[in-house]
């Protein structure tokens, strides 16, 4: 039984060990905290790298091959977040809570693990809350900063609201089906009006986590206020887990309601991508901008859900993998620039190329990947999600998404333009970021370039999905 939930156990062990480490490494030894967090995550990832298919607690918990892979991907992403968080936790006002950051992050990750491998609505909801409530603490980590506190408040209030609605939806499903186990629900879900309403309510809860329009309004404020590594974590890990959970639950229990889901997702995808793009164009604060970018990326991820089936699943996992590499690279750069210059507006990036050419290069390639320019990984991941949705005949949605890719190209390139072309007499001065951040950037860069060219990655996901 216990071996079945090995991933969760090792993660919990890592969490507990981090608690111990937090006790041992008091100031001025706090810098070892990052190293221990990174090492623990490495060990955890390595221990669970072989995908397994396990079931436990009488069907309450079910971890398939692909969710096992997804956990590995998310823990790698978390590892990257830890690697780039060190510099922010070096500051005078944050160093005393460095330990907390790692512990809380690990507990949200644990929540996501349970959420992804839930076999019933109960465990799913527990996981979801475990992933949400500590997240609010992460967002307010910089609580002395007014914005951070505001972001945390907005996050937790919205989160409560969406949880409430979602619980309502789930209770309706329970009411009509008489069970919370996914295995038994499938047959009872037939698409009665009440169940449709329940579906939308349920969807809204995950739509909140995924920041899909119209459940996205908290995103810009939260991303802007939260520390850069937390925003990065929110934008990829939390989102990736939610997207994966949504897809696997749809595959598991909504087999009889495909038509409703297709319509629902089509509307939401079109709205999400378009609205996010329109907002993104006007943003000058880079974190806020990345929030809108991540909203539109969530729309693209939903295309894979719309595609459905094994192909949709593999393209979703692939998309998230690629997205993690690109987005975390960008947040690492944003965090670094913020750390050394205190600025997050786009003008701070004018002429960055001259003073910090390597940072500018990583940022450029990551933006290219997000925009989907070949030969970077983002191109392939977009291609696969488009293909999976197209194959199922959703060509109007795909077409609108394609047009939006062009718009997104415009605003992503605005940053590239700022870094390379816009003249600036006093660009941000040259600085050298800590070794961990540089290593994180290097890993992300490798991901951006190699994930696309090594077709084996996608093939692997296809085989496991």
């Amino acid at each position: 039984m216990l071996i079945a939930i090995q991933a969760e156990i090792t993660l919990t062990a890592a969490l507990v060990l981090m608690l111990v480490a937090d006790l041992i490494f008091k100031e001025p030894n706090h810098k070892y905290l990052q190293a221990s967090a990174v090492i623990l995550m490495l060990i955890h990832t390595a221990l669970n790298i072989v995908p397994t298919d396990t079931e436990a607690f009488g069907g309450m918990y079910h971890s398939s091959m692909i969710s096992s892979v997804m956990k590995t991907i998310l823990s790698t992403g978390t590892l990257l977040v830890f690697m780039q968080a060190g510099q922010w936790l070096e500051r005078e006002d944050t160093r005393h809570k460095a330990g907390e950051f790692y512990i809380i992050t690990l507990s949200t990750l644990l929540g996501m693990y349970f959420m992804m491998s839930a076999g019933s609505f109960i465990l799913f909801y527990v996981g979801l809350e475990l992933a949400s409530i500590p997240m609010a603490c992460l967002v307010t980590m910089d609580k002395k900063r007014h914005e951070s506190a505001e972001a945390g408040a907005k996050f937790i209030l919205n989160s409560m609201f969406s949880s409430g609605l979602m619980l309502y939806g789930m209770s309706l499903i329970y009411g009509t089906c008489g069970t919370t186990y996914f295995e038994d629900i499938t047959a009872a879900l037939t698409g009665t009006p009440l169940q449709i309403m329940a579906t939308v309510f349920f969807f809204a809860g995950l739509g909140f986590k995924l920041s899909l329009v119209p459940f996205h309004m908290w995103t810009p404020d939260t991303y802007q206020g939260a520390p850069a590594p937390v925003s990065g974590y929110l934008s990829v890990i939390s989102k990736g887990a939610a997207a994966f959970t949504l897809m696997s639950i749809i595959l598991k229990i909504f087999g009889n309601m495909t038509a409703q889901w297709n319509l629902l997702l089509s509307i939401v995808i079109v709205a999400t991508i378009t609205v996010a793009n329109l907002f993104a164009i006007k943003q000058t604060n880079l974190k806020r901008f990345m929030a809108y970018s991540s909203i539109s990326q969530a729309g693209y991820i939903m295309l894979a859900v719309l595609g459905g089936g094994a192909m949709g699943m593999s393209s979703l996992v692939y998309y998230i993998t690629v997205y993690i590499a690109a987005n975390l690279a960008i947040f690492a750069v944003i965090g670094t620039v913020e750390q050394y210059s205190g600025r997050v507006d786009r003008d701070a990036y004018n002429g960055l190329y001259k003073t910090n050419p390597k940072l500018a290069l990583v940022m450029t390639l990551a933006l290219f990947s997000l925009a989907g320019i070949p030969p970077f990984a983002g191109f392939f991941s977009k291609f696969f999600v488009f293909a999976s949705a197209f194959r199922e005949g959703h060509w109007i949605v795909v077409f609108i998404a394609l047009i939006n890719t062009i718009i997104s190209l415009y605003y992503y390139l605005l940053i590239v333009k700022a870094m390379y072309i816009t003249p600036n007499d006093s660009p941000v001065s040259t600085f050298r970021s800590p070794a961990f951040t540089r290593a994180c950037l290097l890993v992300c860069l490798a991901g951006i370039i190699l994930l696309g060219l090594c077709s084996g990655v996608y093939q692997l996901f296809t085989d496991l999905a």
């Binding site: 209030l157 449709i196 309510f201 793009n277 415009y410």
Partner: protein, 631 residues
């Protein structure tokens, strides 16, 4: 044979190593790294060849086709997928030997030739990249991998032609080479897409039912592929880039624009040979006619050029024409009945690579000594540069087809194949072979004999090159001397794969020898002495023809006229106008609209949490209502 992957891996590592860290290394170190890597690759290639040909034949008496590596890279459907791998068959193994041998010689030679040049490390990095791409091209397991490496070869050629990037001519030449070959590659790509679309496979050996599906398309696909091959192999009228490509460093010309890259087109045709013979014999004969005309055209131009590298460039074009003709005149897979040309073409590719590389490297020594490409600065150099002189003479005799040098054997086989196809083709090619002998000896006499430019030589005494440069010459010369009669080439490569004994057709051999000797004699009479009355008077009498030939029959001007005047003015300008005024404005309008929308909806994001929840809830209600109404 799994170790063959190292043949690709070593230069693939070497290139980024030198490109990224080369500038921090001293010249000598960077050059040594490159040379040692390619040396190892050469040894590996030889071992591969020994193992492959030593392993013996299958029951049918042919060498088996091995694929020690094949990774499915991009799968589209069950049968249609792009693979990356290594395929060993007689021609690819032969090409491995040719490429690595010449490449190693060039690497060593460049130590002396490029000594002290700025960008020495960059040069070796590019050489590694080129070697990698070329090796990847010949071992390709499918047509698409070949195409990928084909383009990589084009890129590295572009980089190397433009090596002296401060020289405007070099930049122009590199651009010209890239654009012309890319233009031709468009044909190649379309050919590949047709091939893949109709047959649902990219492999070189499609199954019978896949071939059935292709039907009438196959000849077109193969023809379009040949267009790509014609671009790389400088076939008329796409040859215009090759003479200009001589702006690159001379060792590069030897490696890329004489021995290896330019024969990629020939290799391509040879690779697709079974399909050509089986399904598109007419297309194959078109290849022959294009090759024959190119050979003739280039030979005429070569007779009057005054820049020694240009003469060699046109001679290369002409010789590649010979190879194409050899492949093109084939009518069956049986070397005894109409399939001889395949073996002959491949044989000539092999021998030509050796003696043409030798000629170019020799030319490099000469240019190194007199600091000019022009014949007028030379003359009488035999006194100063004995090694270069002797090796150059050997190469000239080989290309002229004098027994017992290697060129004699391969050329004789080509002529025999041509005569078997049609006597007219045979006689034409014999005449062109005579022209070859003539212009090569004109070149030889003008460099080493003739009237010495004493003023210049007094000022700066020409000297023999250092050992790093002359040793490669001697090695190549040795190969050139013995390759023809030591190597039973037909045993390794033949159209049906079975062992074929090369036998000299005495009639053809006698004719070609007589013609070659006559042409050499004529060249001796006209150019060996210090004054050249006959040549000058001929040039005066046929001044129009001479001038036209000297200007390469205005082919460059015709191309420029077609592109600049016709295409630019009649097609590009209107399109540009349409683009600038209609499309751009439309896009600007769209962009302005998007921006306006962005501004318009901004107030929605109030920052108030109440608004957020209202939208949230309204969203749920609206979605529920839509779902309930719609379904």
């Amino acid at each position: 044979m799994e170790f063959t992957i190292l043949i690709l891996v070593l230069p693939a590592i070497c290139f980024p190593l030198l490109a990224l860290f080369g500038m921090k290394m001293p010249h000598r170190v960077a050059g040594t790294i490159g040379t040692v890597a390619i040396g190892a690759v050469t040894i590996l290639s030889y071992i591969t060849a020994l193992n492959y040909f030593g392993a013996g034949r299958t029951a049918e008496g042919i060498f088996p086709t091995l694929t020690p590596w094949n990774i499915r890279w991009l799968p589209f459907t069950e049968t249609l997928h792009i693979d990356m791998g290594i395929m060993l068959d007689p021609i690819s193994v032969m090409m491995l030997v040719v490429i690595t041998t010449v490449s190693l010689m060039v690497h060593i030679y460049s130590f002396g030739y490029m000594k002290g040049e700025k960008g020495f490390q960059r040069y070796y990095a590019f050489l590694s990249l080129f070697t990698f791409s070329m090796l990847g091209l010949v071992v390709a397991t499918n047509i698409f991998q070949m195409y990928i490496f084909w383009e990589l070869v084009g890129v590295s050629s572009y980089l190397l032609i433009g090596f002296y990037y401060t020289k405007p001519e070099a930049i122009a030449a590199s651009k010209k080479a890239f654009i012309v070959t890319r233009f031709a590659d468009l044909g190649f790509l379309i050919g590949i897409l047709l091939y893949g679309y109709y047959m649902q496979t990219f492999t070189f050996t499609p199954a019978a039912d896949q071939l059935m599906k292709a039907g009438m398309i196959l000849p077109w696909a193969l023809g379009l592929m040949f267009v790509g091959g014609a671009g790389k192999s400088a076939m008329f009228p796409l040859h215009i880039w090759l003479p200009d490509a001589m702006e690159g460093p001379t060792p590069v010309s030897a490696l890329i624009h004489a021995a290896t890259m330019v024969v990629a087109g020939v290799y391509l045709v040879a690779r697709m040979f079974p399909l050509f013979i089986g399904f598109a014999p007419e297309t194959l004969h078109v290849v022959a006619y294009v090759g024959a005309f190119t050979a003739f055209y280039a030979a005429t131009v070569a007779c009057v050029q005054s820049d020694i590298k240009r003469v060699l460039a046109f001679s290369t074009i002409s010789q590649i024409g010979f190879m194409m003709v050899a492949l093109g005149v084939c009518t069956s897979m049986d070397p005894h009945e109409g399939g001889l040309g395949y073996m002959a073409g491949m044989f000539h590719l092999f021998t030509h690579a050796m003696f043409k590389a030798l000629l170019f490297l020799g030319a490099g020594c000469i240019i190194h000594a007199v600091h000019s490409n022009e014949m007028s600065t030379m003359g009488g150099l035999r006194k100063y540069m004995p090694v270069t002189h002797i090796t150059f003479l050997i190469a000239c005799l080989a290309i002229a087809g004098i027994w017992p040098l290697s060129g004699f054997f391969s050329k004789d086989e080509i002529l025999a194949a041509c005569f078997a196809f049609s006597p007219v083709m045979g006689w034409i090619m014999t005449a062109i072979a005579g022209m070859t002998a003539f212009y090569m000896f004109r070149l030889y006499y003008c460099i080493f004999w003739g009237k010495e430019n004493t003023e210049l030589h007094k000022e700066h005494v020409p000297h023999e090159s250092p050992l790093t440069m002359t040793v490669p010459l001697m090695i190549l010369a040795a190969i050139t001397i013995v390759a023809g009669w030591i190597l039973p080439f037909g045993h390794f490569v033949s159209s049906d794969g079975k062992a074929y004994d090369i036998h000299i057709d005495t009639g053809v051999a006698a004719i070609s020898l007589v013609v070659a000797l006559f042409a050499i004699g004529l060249a001796t009479y006209m150019y060996a002495r210090s004054s050249q009355p006959l040549a000058d008077s001929l040039a005066r009498r046929f001044s129009g023809l001479h001038k036209a030939a000297y200007r390469r029959f205005y082919l460059d001007e015709i191309w420029l006229f077609v592109t600049k005047k016709i295409i630019f003015n009649c097609i590009s300008t209107p399109i540009a106008w349409f683009d600038r005024h209609v499309i751009d404005n439309f896009m600007n309008m769209l962009a302005a609209g998007t921006q306006a929308c962005g501004t318009l909806i901004r107030p929605v994001q109030t920052g108030k949490i109440q608004t957020y929840t209202i939208w949230f809830f309204a969203g749920i209600i609206i979605l529920t209502v839509i779902l309930l109404l719609a379904l």
